[in-house]
């Protein structure tokens, strides 16, 4: 019963109110419970509860809903201390009538129209809150630059208040970015440039948000993604599907995120398109979630629906045709220069893009201070080894070129899968 309370304080208060002595003329009949609350002095409130709905009414000025009186009455009733009555009290009848009229009025309009109107109102309100929040954030960013980044040297939480403000402003994506940036001043040499670049990207996002209506629709969708407007899965599934034999090339668990996530990259056999399936689980278990059950090296005939944004990457999995089967190794890029070109192209579409999936053919080179990955021309890039065992990559390679799939970012190549002849080996 107390689970209905809006917060713990209300629940505690309700317990005090649930005493028969403070209620006058309490009674119940046919699903309706009422009573007059007698407080100190001349305080009198008329309280009505319909436990089956549940619905509450009370003449008190409390902003909490349900108020402690309604909850208290409910508790009293549930413990069987409210006597049965023949007729409801007048004020109970009046409350019930008013409720019925309100319900009839809303039901009179067609449901779809009502939903759309409400949704549009909510969206407009949200956009307004985000706009105000981001404008404030711009001032904060300018302050940082004016007063100097050196003031936050070595700290961990400097952007936390700004992040909390972004949560209030309903821009959770920006909040998450700020939280990540909070740790940069303690990340060692070169942090001012990394922090400033991070600020500049947030600034770019805020500027883009002010022009949301004039941006190309796909770019606007990307901006909205980063800000943290959610897109419903249903809406995405309503978009046209791309059917293909999708090869699972890389599965990576992001355990240290706020909500543990699993990133699965698929590549279409016929279309050659990339697709990203994201699965979230607060417990990091992913049990039973089909979107988290992909295994690298398998292929699935399925219809994928792309989320709006550019370059299109994230998908919702629609119809699946048959079970996953063992797939062939993906066709890799043999030269790093091709990868650089592709990366420049996708960054031009989305300058905030943190990483992009790729399949490379090359040789992992264990060297100090950091591993590198060399292509057939001998050119090499840093190999990001966090969270994987690079020695498995080296063992499978044996010093010869191997096909490896993973993520490319400005910091280098982070592989998740390597192919040992026809077999995919997760790293």
């Amino acid at each position: 019963m107390l689970a209905l309370a809006p917060d713990a304080a209300s629940a505690a208060a309700a317990r005090k109110v649930a005493a028969a002595v403070v209620w006058m003329g309490a009674g119940c009949v046919s699903g309706l419970v009422w009573g007059r609350y007698v407080g100190s002095g001349t305080l009198r409130y008329e309280t009505v509860v319909e436990p089956g709905v549940p619905a509450y009414g009370c003449s008190c000025p409390s902003r909490k809903f349900p108020c402690k009186h309604a909850l208290g009455l409910l508790l009293l009733w549930s413990s069987g201390d409210v006597p049965d009555a023949d007729e409801p009290a007048d004020y109970a009848v009046a409350w019930q009538q008013a409720r019925a009229e309100r319900a009839a009025a809303t039901a009179a309009r067609p449901r779809g129209e009502r939903d759309e109107e409400a949704a549009a109102r909510r969206a407009a309100r949200r956009r307004e809150r985000v706009t105000v929040g981001l404008a404030e954030l711009e001032l904060w960013l300018c302050d940082q630059v004016r007063s100097g980044l050196s003031g936050v040297s070595g700290t961990y939480w400097h952007a936390e208040p700004a992040a909390a403000r972004m949560v209030d402003a309903q821009a959770p994506g920006v909040a998450a970015t700020l939280r990540r940036l909070s740790a940069v001043p303690a990340s060692g040499e070169g942090w001012p440039q990394r922090l400033l670049a991070g600020y500049a990207r947030v600034h770019l996002l805020a500027r883009a948000h002010t022009q949301l209506d004039t941006l190309p629709p796909d770019l606007a969708a990307t901006v909205r993604n980063y800000v943290g407007y959610s897109v419903s899965r249903e809406a995405v599934l309503a978009e046209p599907a791309v059917r293909d034999q999708w090869l699972v090339v890389s599965v990576r668990d992001i355990a240290d995120a706020a909500i543990p996530a699993r990133r699965t990259y698929l590549r279409g056999d016929k279309t050659g398109r990339w697709a990203l399936v994201l699965a979230f689980d607060p417990q990091g278990q992913f049990g039973g979630d089909l979107d988290a059950a992909f295994e690298a090296g398998t292929a699935l005939d399925a219809e994928l629906h792309y989320y709006p944004g550019r370059p299109p990457l994230r998908v919702a999995v629609g119809a699946r045709h048959g079970e996953p089967v063992a797939g062939p190794p993906p066709q890799p890029r043999r030269r790093l220069s091709e990868l650089f070109d592709e990366w420049a192209t996708v960054l031009a579409l989305d300058p905030w893009l943190p990483e992009w999936p790729t399949v490379l053919c090359g040789v992992p080179v264990p060297c100090e201070p950091r591993w590198r990955f060399a292509d057939e021309t001998g050119a090499s890039v840093p190999l990001q080894t966090g969270g994987i065992d690079p020695w498995i990559l080296a063992a499978v390679s044996g010093g010869a070129p191997v096909t490896a799939a993973g993520e490319w970012s400005a910091d280098g190549f982070r592989p998740s899968t390597v192919w040992h002849r026809e077999t995919a080996v997760p790293l």
Binding site: L149, S150, A200, A344, A394, G398, G399, A410
Partner: protein
């Protein structure tokens, strides 16, 4: 022109203190300078956003890098997929002994470990010596290539058979030099000793202690003078190992000295018809005894000084001494009473000597007479494999002393003969029916490792009749599961 570095420097100090007017940006960001905001702070962020995008999209400096020498190709086939899965599972869960058995079986059947498992196998073997030989045997060319990248992995390689280059003795790592010397010793014992003697004083003490053990193979009278000289080595461990080898050299001066000392401490006394052995201990050790590796002070504080002396002297002598001077067979000698309660010490010394000298007749006699004493796996190991198992079978069939059985069974390494398997199963059945408590995990682990795979069915039947209230059901099921795992693994190797 305003550079990225200037912008970072200004923002770090704060543009309130160090104002900066952004003029023009380097290409390609420079093309977009028209979008800058009027506010200086905003303008700086605009400029950084452009430069950041340009920098991230720009080509990374793709450093040319020398590639590592590739691993030699390997004609040995990789483990089949299911067998690989079993190895991967056991690597996570253990038991290590079972994994070691399976790896050895895989190597024996002509397979090597799949590359993806090599790092985990090498790391596991580096910390768990039980896995070392099995892992070393299944590394293949790829594994040895990989191991060269990490010192602790190399030690795993070294425990296996190392293929050595011709110049390994001069230029190789220690393990390679040892292998090289061992191979030469097998071909030409004298040449190996000569080579060892030649550079002997240039080796470190630890290396000398390791290298001298190579002479255990093809030990002959020709080695005596070298070993005698080693008794005067600076390093205690070298002296000890030289003494051990000389003890095994028939007719050596060392043996003669040991015989004299032993005959002095233990002799026969005849009183009427009763015969017994009497111990006479020396008051102290002379210089020659010390040189021969005998110590006054016991290694363990609990051993008495006299006992310690007695045991050292008796154990250093060849066992033939006693059959000669007492004119009796080992079986009769070990049955003789010994005065002053020295029997346990003398028997312990004989057991030690039988193990070192690998004397099966003495081992048999000592095991027979100590049937009611502590079991001795080391001593049992001196016996031929089949005899050892037959002894355990006999024990299992006759004996009611359940306390000792686990140790006896555990001392029988796989593979088990059918008779032993059946006897062990019958023993388990007796224990279960008799309402005894569940055998130790160690015993069941041995059963799981060593019971022939076609004996899993009786074990499962036994598990079915196990009462739910005891731990028998779970313990037997788990044992049967491991046997089934072994069966599937061996099937994959066919």
């Amino acid at each position: 022109m305003t550079t990225y570095d200037e912008l970072v420097a200004a923002a770090t100090v704060g543009i309130a203190q160090r104002p900066l007017s952004v003029t023009r940006l380097p290409q390609p960001a420079g093309e977009h300078s028209t979008v800058f905001d009027a506010d200086p702070a905003m303008c700086l962020l605009d400029a950084v956003a452009l430069l950041d995008a340009a920098q991230r999209a720009g080509r990374l400096f793709a450093t040319p890098i020398p590639r590592p020498a590739p691993a030699p190709s390997d004609g040995v086939p990789e483990l089949p997929p299911l067998a690989s899965l079993i190895v991967a599972d056991l690597l996570r869960t253990g038991p290590a002994e079972l994994l070691a058995d399976l790896l050895s079986a895989a190597a024996h059947a002509g397979f090597r470990a799949p590359p993806a498992l090599l790092p985990t196998l090498l790391s596991a073997a580096a910390t768990n010596s039980a896995l070392r030989d099995g892992v070393a045997a299944t590394l293949g060319e790829r594994g040895r290539w990989l191991a060269a990248h990490q010192p602790e992995w190399l030690r795993v390689v070294d425990s296996g058979v190392v293929p050595v280059a011709d110049d390994a003795w001069e230029t190789g790592r220690f393990a390679e030099r040892r292998s090289w010397l061992a191979q030469l010793r097998r071909r030409d014992p004298d040449a190996a000793r000569g080579l060892l003697a030649e550079g002997w004083m240039r080796e470190t003490g630890e290396d000398r202690a390791e290298l001298i053990t190579v002479l255990a193979d093809r030990l002959s009278a020709a080695d005596e003078s070298f070993l005698e000289a080693a008794l005067d080595d600076r390093m205690a461990e070298v002296r000890r190992r030289a003494a051990r080898l000389l003890q095994l050299l028939p007719g050596s001066a060392y043996q003669a000295r040991a015989r004299v000392r032993a005959a002095e401490v233990l002799h026969r006394e005849r009183r009427g018809v009763r015969r017994r052995l009497v111990v006479t201990l020396p008051d102290e050790l002379d210089e020659s005894a010390r040189r021969d590796g005998l110590h006054v002070r016991p290694h363990t504080p609990r051993t008495g000084v006299k006992t310690w002396l007695l045991m050292q002297i008796v154990a250093a002598a060849p066992l033939e001494l006693w059959t000669e001077i007492l004119g009796a067979a080992p079986r009769d000698i070990v049955a003789l009473p010994i005065a002053d309660g020295f029997a346990p010490d003398v028997h312990a010394a004989w057991r030690r000597a039988a193990v070192r000298q690998r004397n099966a007749e003495w081992a048999r006699a000592l095991l027979d007479m100590s049937e009611h004493g502590p079991s001795d796996a080391e001593l049992a190991a001196v016996l031929p494999h089949t005899e050892r198992q037959a002894r355990v079978v006999a024990l299992l069939q006759r004996s009611a002393e359940a306390v000792r059985l686990p140790a006896e069974v555990q001392s029988c390494p796989p593979p088990w003969a059918p008779q032993l398997a059946e006897a062990v199963l019958a023993y388990l059945e007796r224990e279960l029916r008799g309402g005894r408590s569940v055998p130790t995990g160690a015993l069941l682990a041995t059963v799981a490792r060593a019971l022939p795979t076609d004996h899993a069915a009786p074990l499962c039947r036994l598990a079915e009749e196990a009462p739910l209230t005891t731990g028998w059901l779970r313990a037997l099921r788990r044992t049967a599961d491991i046997i089934e795992l072994r069966r599937r693994f061996h099937e994959e190797l066919q």
